[in-house]
């Protein structure tokens, strides 16, 4: 190859070689030239070569000019006395093999175009190889899938070094097909196990890649949907094939996730997994109760992760009869000031509302929750307050026994709040003996809506519950916008004390503590 002639000439030369190989078996040695270009440094040339290989081996696969069956070593066949055709086929199969290896290597190429093209080519080979299998069926109509080749593809995708999310998103298009998905799940499980066993410290990038791939897998809901195959088989789909059963898919899915989750994952991944747990993972597991270990472990971690694990636990408790001891006690323990500041506040309070919606809960428990939330509300920003105040009032509405918290006529005046905030057991917290003074304090909140919401307890609580669903996602920015848009019927009131300077009057704090110089 002379580079001087430019890429066009190179492409033309490749085309000529390709034609020659396909036209005449005698020209088969030209394959080496093509494969040599695959090793090139220039991405353009590589791409040309990949395209050429794709056409070449695609045609050869369709023609059946590749050796079928267990591939013998090249030297023995060449040295042996078999026929020239067989020699040719074995030799060509070896070339095909080296080409595939090279393509799998190219999946880690720095250039994304090359990666994309390599992936496309490999998947094309997978398809063709599935249609024209290179191994002998064990029995008539047995299911054949180029597992080796596909495994190489998945291995390449789950890179240890770099983040392959872009390439994975390309790959996700193939996951639409049931057979590809099935084998991808198997391959991913294998790869994860292998890598985790091989490396004591698995890099973060690998976990991220695995998670990206795993989270992209979504199983169909119904059995009948499993009919979309990537590999076109000559024979009719058979019931005997595992790949046609959703149950098998679920098993694979479960194996894959369990295999993934049993490793020690970074915290950020925990969160990601837990976020999609209730929607994408739990419904598709063959045996959801197997997730209990993971979820309880996550629940014990504390903080935001606990909050997130709550959702999965709830599904297990609710739908799969999970007995969780001290659930409410742990839930109570989850309530700390940060609960109003985390990203998953809306989800948490939605769930908390669900958990506390039962009217069969003991009054002390509900009172403890109400008191705890009220205590926490003393540190909450307005957007959280607007949500949590109706939440507390709803609790009191649901449980009339707890109304003593806001209405205790003829009660003695106390020296201290009987409620013990540091007590972990809600039963011991003596919340029922207390009152919600916190809400009374919040009636003096600077934001008018908050103070209005807190003033609800001044009157006897109305019977219907206030819906907190629209308040869950409320942000401070929305409150700000709402305040700005609110119409003011009269003239804008003005300050009547004239301004004298930037820092205000002498009594002002700004003037006391700051200077302009």
């Amino acid at each position: 190859m002379e580079r001087v002639r430019g890429p066009r000439n190179a492409r033309r030369a490749l085309g000529r070689l390709l034609e020659a190989v396909l036209a005449n078996r005698a020209e088969a040695n030209a394959v080496f030239d093509i494969l040599a270009v695959l090793q090139s440094e220039d991405p353009e040339e590589i791409q040309d070569a990949v395209r050429a290989c794709s056409r070449l081996f695609g045609a050869l696969l369709e023609r059946g000019e590749l050796f079928v069956g267990q591939l013998p070593p090249e030297e023995t066949v060449m040295a042996g006395s078999q026929g020239a055709t067989r020699k040719y086929k074995v030799w060509m199969r070896h070339r095909y093999q080296s080409c595939c290896n090279r393509l799998a290597e190219l999946l880690a190429h720095p250039s994304f175009q090359v990666k994309e093209l390599a992936l496309g080519t490999l998947m094309k080979f997978v398809q063709l190889e599935g249609a024209h299998p290179l191994e002998k069926p064990k029995w008539e109509g047995s299911y054949l899938f180029p597992r080796q080749l596909f495994k190489a593809v998945v291995d390449g995708l789950l890179s240890l070094e770099e983040d392959c999310s872009l390439l994975l998103s390309q790959f996700c298009e193939y996951l639409e097909h049931d057979d590809v998905r099935y084998h991808a799940m198997q391959a991913a499980a294998d790869t994860t196990a292998r890598v985790a066993n091989a490396h004591p410290e698995v890099p973060l990038a690998f976990w991220n890649n695995v998670f990206t791939l795993l989270s992209a897998v979504s199983l169909p809901r119904q059995e009948s949907d499993v009919a979309n195959f990537y590999v076109k088989h000559a024979a009719e789909l058979s019931d005997k094939w595992k790949v046609t059963h959703l149950k098998e898919h679920r098993k694979a899915f479960q194996l894959m996730w369990l295999g993934f989750l049993k490793h020690k994952l970074p915290l950020s991944l925990y969160k990601k997994v837990l976020v999609i747990m209730h929607e994408s993972i739990l419904p598709h597991l063959a045996q959801p109760s197997l997730m209990i270990d993971f979820l309880t472990r996550a629940y014990d971690v504390g903080g935001a992760i606990s909050l997130l694990a709550l959702n999965g636990l709830f599904i297990l408790i609710h739908e799969h009869n999970l007995e969780y001891p001290d659930f409410y006690r742990k839930l109570y323990g989850l309530l700390d000031p940060s609960v109003f500041h985390v990203k998953y506040r809306a989800r948490f309070f939605h769930l908390a509302d669900l958990f506390l919606s039962s009217s069969h809960l003991p009054a002390y428990l509900v009172a403890a929750f109400a008191k705890r939330l009220a205590r926490l509300a003393l540190t909450a920003p307005p957007e959280a307050l607007l949500m949590v105040l109706p939440f507390i009032c709803n609790l009191l509405r649901r449980h009339p026994a707890c109304r003593v918290l806001v209405h205790r006529p003829r009660g003695p005046e106390l020296d201290a709040d009987p409620y013990d905030p540091d007590e972990e057991d809600p039963a011991q917290s003596r919340a029922l003996e207390s009152s919600l003074w916190e809400l009374q304090a919040l009636q003096r909140h600077y934001h008018p809506e908050v103070s209005k919401a807190a003033s609800v307890i001044n009157q006897a609580l109305s019977v219907p519950e206030a819906s907190i669903a629209p308040l869950l996602e409320l942000t401070a920015f929305e409150i700000f916008e709402r305040d700005l848009k609110k119409k003011w019927p009269e003239a804008v009131p003005l300050e009547f004390v004239p301004a004298q300077g930037l820092l205000g009057r002498r009594g002002d704090l700004c003037a006391q503590h700051f200077t302009l110089s």
Partner: protein, 915 residues
Amino acid sequence: MCLLVTGSVIATPGRGRLPDPRHVSPEGTRSPPAVLGRGLASSGSPRPCGVERLGVRRELAMGKARASGARPKAPGAPAGARGGRARPNPNPFEVKVNRQKFQVLGRKTRHDVGLPGVSRARAIQKRTQTLLKEYKERDKSNVFIDKRFGEYNSSISAEEKMMRRFALEQQRHHEKRNIYNLNEDEELTHYGQSLADIEKLNDIVDSDSDPEERGTLSAELTAAHFGGGELPHQRPSQQPGPEAERPRSRKELIEELIAKSKQEKRERQAQREDALELTEKLDRDWREIQSLLARRPPQAQSRPQDKPQPDAYDRAVRELGFEMKAQPSDRMKTEEELAREEQERLRRLEAERVRRMLGTDEDQDSKRPAHMSADDLNDGFVLDKDDRRLLSYEDGKMNVQEEQSREASDGGNEEEEEEEEEEGEEDAEDSGGSDSHSDLECDMESEEEGERPEQEPRQTRGGRATGRGQDARGAARAELPYTFAAPESPEDLKSLLTGKSVEEQLLVVERIQKCHHPSLAVGNKAKLEKLFGFLLEYVGELATEDPPDLSVIDKLVVQLYGLCQMFPESASECVRFVLRDAMHEMEGTIEAKGRATFPGLDVLIYLKIAGMLFPTSDLWHPVVTPALVCLSQLLTKCPVLSLPDAVKGLFVCCVFLDYVSLSQRFIPELVNFLLGILYIAAPNQPGPGYTLVPPFRPRGKHSELLVVSDEGDAATWQRRSLSLHWASARHPQTETEANHTRLSCLAVCLALVKRCVHMYGALPAFHDITRPLRALLAQHLAGGRHPRELQELCRSALADMEAQERRYQPLVCERSKPVPLKLFTPRLVKVLEFGRKQGSTKEEQERKRLIHKHRREFKGAVREIRKDNQFLARMQLSEIMERDAERKRKVKQLFSSLAEQEGEWKALKRKKFKK
């Protein structure tokens, strides 16, 4: 056969034409038109052919007929019930009284007394005049038409009628014969007198202008015009005689009247002419005698020369006298009055503020009084700045006298005065000496109170300015033009202001304001409104500069306040816009980076300015409430990553606390933030009793940001106010400076904690709120690394917390009012007016009234028709009887004649036999 009264005759042969019954006068006498028109049913309706149809036809218009018949208004009508009452002594046997069994208060009775005989007679008379006539003429086809102009038109006065008739006659004459006559033989007259004659009389006095004669009209005339229409009846009584036998028509009477009055007038005129003539004669005679009598010069001619020319003094006195005097209300008010007024105003404003703070008007209806200050300014009245300054000083138990003396000296030229105050300069050429003196005094005074310099920045500046040489400032001032075009864009304003000193910038802004005062031109309001926005933007730019030009901002705030007072609406819009911008930016960074950073100094300054322009204690305010949310966001979303961040955060805290200083509202974020600052000021060792709230983290790079790195620096530290420059400090500080700043931050933080303790001490959950703070403070104290002063501060804050009483009163709901039971007591309605249907709408009442009226009218019409028929039947009967009687008479006559003839014949026969 037709009778001609006046005008032409129109023969109407045959029955085809339906003549107007008004014009029919079968007897040839003129019946009074009013009676005719009223009595007959349908004027213009087809003439009835038979008696039966007559009644039916009449039915249509009976309502009208009855309506007019029921209320007799015509003067000729005989007195009915009302007439009876009017007459002093009716025949007592004719009066019928409807006795009432019970007296009902407030009920109007209309038919308690009646004169049935009289009214029946009247009805019969009316029918005879109308119905009977019609009946009698039922088969007649000839008509008698009266075509005299306006004969039956009562709307035209008699006089006018005559005029028109005369005009018509003249016209006819003219048309027919005198087409070519050039007005030679025609004589123009006025009131029957030749105009030519009148012109000859040079001095004619109108009779009407005579005062003696005017007011008295003749008794006859008055009676005729205002006598209540009794004329026809009075006439006979007044004029008993041969003429009284024949009742004269109204027309005749009026003509008589007119003639009489005219004659009278003429007589009077003649009399007056005589008198005039006599007077003239007398005058003539007098003059002849006068010339003989006296020789002295006539006074009348000498008088004008007599008058002395006013000299300068007199003129001045007059001028002063006539000069517009000051109104009593404009007099200079005494100091006490001013003080009282100010107090009153303050009290009112404060009451208003408290009302808004408590939000008591939230649930009331919208009929709130308009906000005063906004009202004051909308009328384009010049903003009285001195007024306001006065009140501010009073606020802080300041010297009222000084301000009042200033006020007093501010005579007419306030603007000049103000300008001088602002600049702190005296301009000898355009202000009076006394004024500048008073200013000087003020400045002296302000200089004397040197112990509070920052409290009166303007005065002290003024004082300093007076202390300095005048020439430099004079030169600076000379450079500035006196008028400025209003800036059209922020860049305009910037180009006007950049490169000038603080005072010059102020001067420029002031002059722009003065040149474009809203009272001067129409578009000025909009210009100044824009100016506010541009100034605000300019302030923002100044704040983002490095180093920020805070002194200019400090002065511009006053201008902003003034503009805001003038245009509250647009100013609030501007501030809201700025705040929205800041929040959008923050939201953007949160979305992009996942966390926000403290914004630049400009946002903080905007927030501070917003708190100065608008009342921060309101429960809800269109500007302040969003600003509060903005402040809260700054404290909750922006992590403290550096020392400037800490300074900014503390500034935000100060602004926040200043916002709620009056309303004493609770700010959870602020407590959290102070907790965080305390935490990062201590070496991290997790202690019990507190939990950090985002944006602070218990561990991490910035979790020991405010810990002093060198013990030695702690010893050399002196407590100072934090400088706002540090908030935007990009220049690196030395380690010692940084340590000092850290300690200062901590000091400010502790002071704020103390402030919070005082502010929230009364809150029921106070100890729960401050629990984490207490734990951290204890930890600080335990560390013991702080300078003494800080330790003292810590200790006193802790002591204050402990000192707050712990009283937990159990909560009790307000007792809601019990729902009242349903009661079945009757509903009582106040009867406001008797006889009127109650309890319905106006439309319904009107409808009922109309239905009632219609029914009444209908009944009346039916009754009328029945009576008409009875009348006609009676007439027919009487006719028949008459006819029968006639026939009987004739038969009798015949019989008698026959008997006579027979008798004669028999007598002859007997004679014959006897023969």
